[in-house]
Symmetry: C3
Subunit: 204 residues, 3 copies
């Protein structure tokens, strides 16, 4: 139950980020809702399609409801939201950690190896934002801005390390979530970036 | 048989819309054909992948043939097409209605609940256009312009309402198609729009 | 074993093309790696999802490793790469031919008809580049520039023709690869293009 609430908080924050970006592009209400929804459930959907397991949101409409709440909050409290960006970023980081754990565990549950599970944790956590950016026709932010997907990757590795040392599922999950969350929050706090690629020498 | 012809008319109109947009971007013949094809069958393909049922166009090449006809029509009769835009929009609305019904029925046929069926009706009807806009690198039109996906949504709801009152499959399908078509045509005729999101207060 | 090396050379060249385009957009290292990876395995992934067979890269991490090599090569030898563009283009054409054969054969292996196999050969060969261009937010190159997907298409047709004349799998595969490679290399050498669509008369 606690984990379910954490997941919904993450979905709420993800949907808000999608709806706010859609607002800046002057999408209509429907478009903004869809962009919010895709941000929240796109990563998990891509994971389920790649793993060939039933797409999770066909089993329960909670992501649709949470996106509706996000939508109402953006419309009613837009000004106040701007002042609470830090809170939203923390919610988003919590969701990132939770989504990563879910992605890793779903993959291991169907018997695939650890490195696939790490890839699926990353896809679950970070690809909702990639699909969002494709829908609003922008270059995906996570490919250019601070540490985001890298936090999922390190969280997934932490899961594998604890498992290799004989930790049970709870210990693995906690390690994964703590590492993902910590890396993401520290990256935000200290403005960590990955090195950029240099096109200059490229001659084109 | 009648329904099959209606479906092909819808595919024809959808492919035309994709090919014309690709023409404006100066794609080559192959690129324009692919964009037309994806507009016509993209929504149904996404639906089948999400439902984990065989992708419909691997069973018959009729969508490929219809897109070929659309292609020939655009190349040969481009000037005349511009004068018949209203007819194309009506064909497109007919296709939207038909696609929505197919999406709803395919979902109910595998035992998923009504709200998933409504979502899949909307995806079948409206996401071909979203994939088209992603391919030609534009912001998806349906997120900004008049009532399009909303017509599918209301049509799907009409299906559910008639079913809840004990209507048989034919009555449900007719209600769904009539509502989708009517809403879409009225929206075009009277320029109905959904409210837009406002970025102004957003501070970014 | 020989075929496996050819496939990896193709993946290497595809990943390089993705990483170089990501560099021009100033993506960070992680983003460039993902774009390279999607270019290399995106076509095959889409094929496997559409065919509803297990996604090939969940069975072996060789594409992930090859993309890592491509990444190192781009970072370490960027200047030299520009002088060896012709070699890269030949590698890429070799990969295109190999990917097309794999796509055709995987489709026939699950009992689908020849025309679906040709479509899947084309998707395997050419859609990695489409997904790459969607990720970096550009109009897909293959829809506007020289003969690329058309080479896969003709290669697939060659496969079908040899099969219709009673050729065994090896003969079919060789014919497909030779045609794809030849068409692609000749198109590059002589600057062959498909006719472009004309928007002028379009009135919009």
């Amino acid at each position: 139950m606690f984990l379910y609430i954490v997941e919904m908080v993450g979905a709420f924050a993800a949907a808000i980020s999608g709806i706010r970006l859609a607002s800046m592009k002057r999408f209509d209400w429907f478009g903004a809702y869809i962009v919010g929804l895709v941000t929240a459930l796109g990563g998990g959907t891509l994971r389920d399609v790649l793993l060939d397991i039933p797409v999770f949101w066909t089993r329960s409409w909670d992501y649709f409801a949470v996106t509706g709440i996000s939508m109402s909050v953006v419309i009613a409290f837009q000004k106040q939201l701007v002042r609470r960006l830090n809170m939203l970023l923390v919610f988003d980081a919590v969701g990132l950690a939770m989504f990563t754990v879910i992605g890793v565990e779903k993959t291991l549950a169907i018997g695939l190896p650890m490195w696939v599970a790490i890839a699926m944790g990353l896809i679950t956590g970070a690809f909702g934002g990639v699909l969002r950016d494709i829908l609003i026709n922008e270059e995906p932010l996570i490919f250019r801005k601070d540490i985001y997907a890298m936090a999922c990757l390190l969280g997934g590795v932490a899961y594998g390390v604890v498992m290799a040392f004989g930790g049970n599922a709870v210990a693995c999950g906690v390690a994964c979530a703590v590492v993902t969350l910590t890396v993401r929050v520290l990256a935000l706090r200290f403005g960590w970036h990955l090195p950029m690629m240099h096109p200059d020498d490229d001659g084109e």
